[in-house]
Subunit: 297 residues, 6 copies
């Protein structure tokens, strides 16, 4: 593709990246990686290339990933019947066992991909170094099994790995006070980690283009939202479905030290790079009320 | 049990540990953990207690573990038919996938156990930080799938984790030059790692009491072997079965910078602690010809 | 003695030490060493073994010692007549000269004993690095010579020695603003040092079993006292003799950042180890009112 | 220009830079900056952008610059008559005074430009920190004034500045043993510095396209030369004029620890970036005989 | 001169320096160097010797210098006509160009002199590392060209150079927000820098003996002034001419963290050394109201 | 005395010290302190002032001292009869006990004096940190008790104390392999320590002016001796008495990494300062054959 470009055009692109490289130099960027971008092999490779490039030019990316559709596949393979409570899958002990196996394998396959690009990666779960402490999450007061809510983040292991120049890749599993294993929603885990390390950016790779005022009307895509705007949209009933918890996560992150959160369309090739290195970002950015001006001046 | 001891006896035991604590202070001890000690829950807990204690009193233990019988169990669950070549199980891609899932889950369950005892652990595979580079291992010239032989160890990640005071727990999976995933024999992996970090000790937890001159006759258990002795035993045909590769691994380790290798009976409670902290070790120790006197003076 | 124990019992004792090793890892423990434990050669060796073990398993012990009966012995040898004021020995210049000689020799003999056990020790007085600044202490308004009260502690030298992995051994001599040499009560010096470094523990090795409600009745030994309890005992007149200043020292230490103070019976073999490593401590522990629950949960 | 590119093309260019960013990560690159690239304001800005980008993506660039035509201009302004010996301008004391003023001003103007791009720069001469020790250079045995030859490089100041994350910008002035000030040929200074720090690359920005076999015939531009090739070209009489000393400098650098030297056409926009970040370099590269294969595999 | 002294007298002088060496050990001392001391070659050498000695005995001196009469000389040489506004020389672009050339050359000549005495120096301007940010200074509301007022000091480069054991020598040039070059009054620059690093001392080398109550009457030289005293002198109209801004600078420095400011007579040989190392200082010292006693006890 | 000097003369003396301060900056200087300089209170103070000054101006002095006449005094006080073997005092256990007490008290009194001058000192013996390992020294094959010969120096404690900016003061007592306490000749201890740390200088403060060719004729004082010269003087029989072992110590030091040894007359006020800071040293200097020129150029 880029072979059509002449040399000068290439140089120009690199030079245009300069101010962005400066702005985020040594800053922590948490990437929640999931959705289509985890299923399509080509997109997968592009996401990993993007994150690796961020690492090499001096940022400090951290990946938090889910298990994609692999968990369901293996639950079925093991001949287990899914049980639902309030429409949510119950994570009993055998399901948790499979989930942990699958998530860790996904985790290590991402490690391989980063290593292949010449960057040192370490795959960990929330168990390692006591990273994620959880408590049982109830659904409308009902026990849905080993589903945890992050209660505490101990980021020492992340700072240690970053100091030693590794790219940390995290699967969202944690321990409760009895050292039992729990699954955590990957969005929640990414948000809790971004807060704990005061990340400069938290980017969610999703299967939608961003936040719409009217999901039916593509022209209502919002490219930038302050926390106040986001709150108003929710209050006014514009946000529903899976976007509601995600947007609440974004607000929570911004209010707890993260500078900017992005909801990106993971189906777009190199969406992460485009967001960070080009003048006009893609997807929807959520930012603090007071940050609004800084980024727009 | 120990509640029968009076206070002074207890103090005495601690004081007797003094010279051993000094001798191994800040030394690396690689423990190959496998066999019965991985199946029996009580033994499992004792092994983890032992290693954690070693960490706390100033040693630098590293655990390398296998998958026990879990891999076979899950291969069966997935409804797969094992295929054998020269009597060895062929590790095709789907089998490797299951092996990786199982090994990583075992890995993280060991991490939980260590964390529960108050020590920071990190579970990694040979993929993380490029720890283990492998090449395909043939069996009598035949391809048996994704079974790897360690070609190169890059111990940076281990030194980094030890420096940051973590206990590294390693599952024996590595990458080849094409970044494909391979299973590695856990004994071989432990041996390669012990060599790479010039471990003070390498301890194999096994299901036998040690090396016998005559396996039929328990009275012929050998408590200490120099490399020369071990070679002679092999040449003279006394060693067979699974002990042959293990003993070759021991010889290889000693000749490449490891000070002492132990073949311990993992079925004995706290065998690791007993070996290290008491005057009369258990199992069989293999040591360099010249080290013989130092340890026996 | 411990040779009567079987291997498993020994391992059990070590394992039981685990939680204590964790709790005090890298914590500073000041040991006031004196009384019978300094006279009896066997007890002396045991105390030194205990402290050395604490050092080796990761604690940071500091010894503060007195001169035992050696000072009186040498005063007599030098043909000097002791002079008393209000029943207290007057420390004139020649007496101070002898005291300094004796205390420093005791100091270096403790250094030898620790070195012999393979741990690096440095013997210092309060003069070295300006550790202890004193002012003259009067007895009921009367000058009793070169007896000093600690006015200021400059702990830099202790942090430097601990950082370089030495075990500091301190004799209680200090300098006043004119750089004259003064003797300091060893209990007071230990207490002042424990405060200055916010020690986790301060342990007094004494010639009694602990604090009694009724010293005549051994059954009234108190195993744990909060600061409030201790104050009440004093107010109610239960505490007298040499225990009064000691208990005041304990209260002072607790109120100034030391977590727990122990009055131990130095005549019991390995009393220090028993206190720290067994479930039921010995002697009397003094602790803050709010700490009470933490240690007892 | 690059606004014509679509987003994906831009991302592609960044991704293509990945392997180069890895290869030169934390490597020192010495850039001899001079010629047209110092006169044309647009080219000047592009060179500075290039070097700043190299710094930001993790390389360690060092700039060595000359004075362009500024020195002659100021000599004329000051009403001084140039004196020539063997066709070389004699650098008497007043000329040296002007040269030093001009070079230092050029130096600080480059510092401003780098600072403006958000990178910390420090402008030094060979006097600072004793960086360049010189001795008088004779021209055919004749004294041509304060023209120095580098005798010794003390790179401590460079390592200190790089460690503190500054971009060092050096003007080629040095001190002799009497601490008199001397002018140094900028090519020679760059070469001596590249040797002293074992630079990964040394790049000369020149006014020609590279080395030609026949300078009259543009089609004879040589894109890669081993040291042996270069020697042969010289011996065979193909190299003359200003290229001869330059090529000798290149050979000297390669033989003294520099991995690769580039003769680039400074008149091409972003020539430095193109050379480093694209598959087909520009200009002529000189490399060791044995390096030939590594770079071409 | 000193050869007339006998050995013991020499030793005595060194011993007398002891308390001063202690008092200022590792303290930062900013020396504003200008006036006659920059013109007379012998005085120049003595100032440099003094500062170098301060460095060698453990102080951390920083030199800030002006351009003496060199700037005017070169402006004339270049055939430029000085233009005056309100009696102040207008610094247009060509004048600024010359000023920058001259100041940087003076800067590097001071570097040579320090290097010759065996101490590592680095000559920088306010451009390097973004040390001095300025804004245009108006004179009675009129634009007088590139004359800047210090708006912000970024002392990182100074701390870095001091940490690496260099003596920083600074010429008073800075950049405004558009990265244009401005000249700064050297007194102002020295004062701003001393404030930014909380210097222990700020010493101005001037052409007068100090502050007089009556400049006509040498007997009214004031050897010590508190800030209150200084303010009162100004209010009462005793201070006029060039001393007024200088004294305001002194007050400003003291009120912003500098412990003591000295106005010294740079025409006295070794005035700096005499001020620092002898019991009776020379010139006028300005100090905080509360510091008054400390220095006089 | 020096109050007779005018200010400029004082400054001159300080400036003259510059080259010496540079030459010995951060160099280790071992001072063997003994003889009259330890008895006369005024000389004592001057020696301590000298060493403290050396410390403050950036050298790294280490003091090794003897016990002067204090040991004999206390042996007599204790009513003990000295026993002689081959004319040497036998150091039985009670004598060693007194020697250790006295030496440590002298040690700490030197610490006080240095502390009073504002420099941090630590007084240690060869026991601390295992500094001096000894073996029994026989006199003509006869056991003369606890007199030790240095067998091994472990300088870690010295490097640690110097790094933490303390001035180490050492009394010459060591431990043998059985951890028994031995007295060491202070000259021997100083020599062994200077060798172990590759001191720049080793200075012996003695009661004589230096080495004479003819001790009867003061005009034959030798101010500089190469090792070869010294050997020849010994062979030719010019050296006798206490000077013989001292000169052998000097030769030994020079041949083992010490750059220069001085035999100084401790009875001269500030002899140490005069030797180091003035052009014409005092006493006798012993240096390597090849160093001869360096120091004399």
């Amino acid at each position: 593709m880029s072979e059509n470009l002449n040399a000068l055009e290439k140089a120009q692109v690199l030079i245009e990246a300069l101010p962005y490289i400066q702005r985020f130099n040594r800053k922590i960027i948490v990437v929640k990686y999931g959705g289509s971008a985890m299923v399509d092999e080509k997109l997968k490779k592009q996401v990993i290339q993007d994150v690796t490039l961020l690492k090499l030019v001096g940022f400090k990316p951290i990946i938090v990933h889910g298990g994609g559709k692999e968990i369901s596949k293996w639950v079925a393979k093991a001949g287990m019947e899914p049980e639902f409570i309030n429409g949510l899958r119950k994570t009993d002990a055998p399901t948790m066992e499979i989930a942990e196996m699958v998530l860790n394998r996904v985790n290590k396959s991402l490690v391989s991909m980063v290593q292949e690009l010449g960057v040192q990666a370490v795959g960990i779960s929330g168990k390692d170094g006591g990273l994620l402490k959880v408590e049982k999450k109830l659904s409308d007061g009902q026990d849905i099994g080993y589903v945890g809510e992050v209660k505490e983040v101990n980021p020492k292991i992340l700072y240690d790995l970053l100091e030693k120049d590794f790219l940390p890749i995290i699967c969202p599993i944690g321990l409760d006070d009895n050292y039992d294993t729990y699954n955590i929603n990957a969005d929640d885990a990414a948000c809790a980690i971004a807060r704990a390390v005061s990340a400069e950016k938290l980017a969610f790779l999703t299967n939608i283009e961003g936040v719409y005022k009217d999901p039916e009307d593509p022209s209502t895509l919002i490219s930038e939202l302050t926390v106040s705007d986001a709150r108003k949209l929710i209050t006014d009933g514009y946000i529903g479905g899976g976007m509601l918890p995600k947007l609440n996560n974004c607000i929570d992150a911004i209010e707890n030290g993260v500078s900017r959160v992005h909801i990106l369309d993971g189906r777009i090739a190199h969406c992460l790079l485009l967001e960070i290195f080009t003048n006009r970002g893609i997807g929807t950015a959520i930012l603090g009320d007071e940050e609004h001006h800084f980024y727009n001046e």
